[in-house]
């Protein structure tokens, strides 16, 4: 092992070696399948981590930082070569590079930092960078939730650090590592294997990266919803919201019966075009609307099949709801306004989800909440139970037993 390590220890020797390696790398134009870059990046990162991990002797900060920077550059080069540009426009690219560099850089700081309190601060920055990546991934609710929860967690960790490691000066736990060489090589060999596999999985689908390759990659070859259908579905959802706010005679003298009928007819007309609601309701015909007509031949595609099932559900629910609404308008004494409003609200949510098929909805929080409480209700309860059990477990573990009682028993 010392034969491997010895040439890496000297800072000057290491820098010279790295410079020559780096020059060879940048002069070299590999084929897409060539993974020399990847191996080099993983090896350099492992060497840098090994040099930086705390030890009583032989820790080389300058050499380690240099090796890690070169490893990051090589990994970035490899990623660019294998997967193309990280975003469509320069703002997205810049933000992605900023946040990912922040996450990885502060992660390294957390790993190699001797002082656990500074490590906790670095972890806070890792969380912030991850939250930036969540924001780029259209998950603003996750960003807020992660910041809130981890802010609490980091503060508690900080308290623990302050309580438990008050000793000053070098200590076994902070200034020694357990097998730093094997540990860093294991970790980065694992990362390299994952990246290699990603590259293998990527290659058959995407030939040389073109500017729009990722856009094409994302969508099926046919549109799940045309812009017209989307527009009419959204207009129907808006009209239904107006209907909800009107609250069916709950507010006296808001609208006349004719005006209400005009509104409901408009909703039906809007939905008829896309999912064939009107024909199902009045004529009992099996005319399913334009979405069904277009996607019926693509049942093999999972996403198309999902959309078709959603259309079917909205259609069934829509017929029922519209009958309830008509009854509520014609005979307000027989159908309670509250139940009609509830039915319309449910239909509106389903239509909104359908309208936003193929993309993440703009109202992230509302739709995530709807998804959690409609599809994942059992999972939510299980997570809550898990939290309860964890709380009881933590109390049971950390409870200080009364020594006198223990002796008596």
């Amino acid at each position: 092992m010392s034969q491997i390590v010895a040439p890496l220890v000297g800072i000057r020797g290491l820098l010279e070696k790295n410079c020559t390696i780096a020059m060879t790398v940048f002069a070299y134009h590999p084929q897409p399948s060539d993974n020399v870059h990847l191996v080099l990046a993983a090896g350099l990162a492992a060497a840098g981590c090994f040099l930086l991990l705390p030890r009583p002797r032989g820790r080389s900060v300058a050499g380690g930082v240099a090796a890690l920077i070169i490893a990051a550059a090589v990994a970035g080069l490899w990623t660019h070569h294998a997967f193309g540009e990280p975003g469509a426009n320069w703002i997205e690219k810049a933000l992605f590079i900023l946040f990912s560099a922040g996450a990885v850089g502060f992660g390294i700081v957390l790993v190699v930092q001797r002082n656990p309190a500074r490590g906790a601060i670095a972890f806070a920055f890792v969380i912030l960078s991850t939250c930036g990546l969540f924001l780029l991934l259209a998950a603003p609710f996750l960003m807020a939730a992660t910041i809130i929860i981890y802010a609490g967690a980091i503060v508690v960790t900080f308290l623990f650090v302050l309580m438990l490691s008050a000793a000053s000066g070098p200590s076994d736990e902070n200034d020694r590592s357990r097998e730093p060489l094997l540990g860093s090589f294991a970790g980065f060999a694992f990362t390299g294997l994952i990246l290699f596999t990603l590259n293998q999985a990527h290659e058959p689908n995407a030939p040389p990266p073109s500017p729009n390759a990722n856009e094409v990659d994302r969508l099926p070859p046919f549109p799940l919803l045309t812009p017209d259908e989307q527009q009419s579905l959204r207009a129907a959802a808006d009209a239904m919201q107006q209907l909800e706010e009107d609250a069916f005679y709950a507010v006296p003298n808001a609208l006349s019966r004719e005006q209400r009928t005009i509104r409901t007819n408009r909703i039906e007309a809007l939905l008829e075009d896309a999912i064939g609601l009107n024909s199902a309701k009045y004529e009992g015909r099996t005319q399913y609307g334009s979405i069904h007509a277009r996607l019926a031949g693509h049942r093999m595609d999972r996403r198309a099949d999902d959309v078709l099932r959603q259309v079917e559900a909205v259609r069934r629910n829509g017929v029922r709801t519209m009958k309830t609404v008509d009854d509520a308008i014609d005979e307000p004494t027989r159908v309670r306004p509250a139940s009609a409003v509830a039915a319309v609200r449910q239909l509106r949510e389903e239509v909104t989800l359908l309208a936003n098929t193929g993309e993440l909805p703009a109202r992230n929080t509302a739709n995530l909440g709807y998804l959690l409480y409609s599809e994942h209700l059992l999972d939510i309860e299980l997570a809550g139970t898990l939290l309860l059990v964890a709380t009881i477990g933590a109390i049971a573990i950390a409870h200080r037993k009364n020594p006198e009682k223990a002796v008596a028993l």
Partner: protein
Amino acid sequence: MGLWHYLVVAAILFGIGLVGFLSRRNLITMFLCAEMMLQGVAINFAAFGRYHGSLSGQAFVLFIVAVAACEAGIALALILMLYRRARSLDASDWQSLREVGVPPTVDAEPLPAAPFERADPRLPPAGREPEKAQEAAHV
């Protein structure tokens, strides 16, 4: 919208956390490294959710956050108990729990001496304590 770049960042975060978890000896740092690995997985889920235009990935991340909260509670309670017994956060204090046949970890190199700290200066006693001024009036 590149899925692959996010997967790359997530894999690197996971690998860094793995290195820290394997080679650090402070229990609190090991705990933070495990949390960082969870963050890498969370980025994966969010990226796949975005790629498929489905919110289920984000729902998954919410569960990861819930599980991470449970893990934090249990882990910190365990760390507290271990600290009470060993009076240190060193994971190698518990190597008597290792498998049969695994050689023990021995710290060969001595730790560097703690930096010399100059004691706080003390004033030497100088002469007799001067008489304090008495208050003139006792009411």
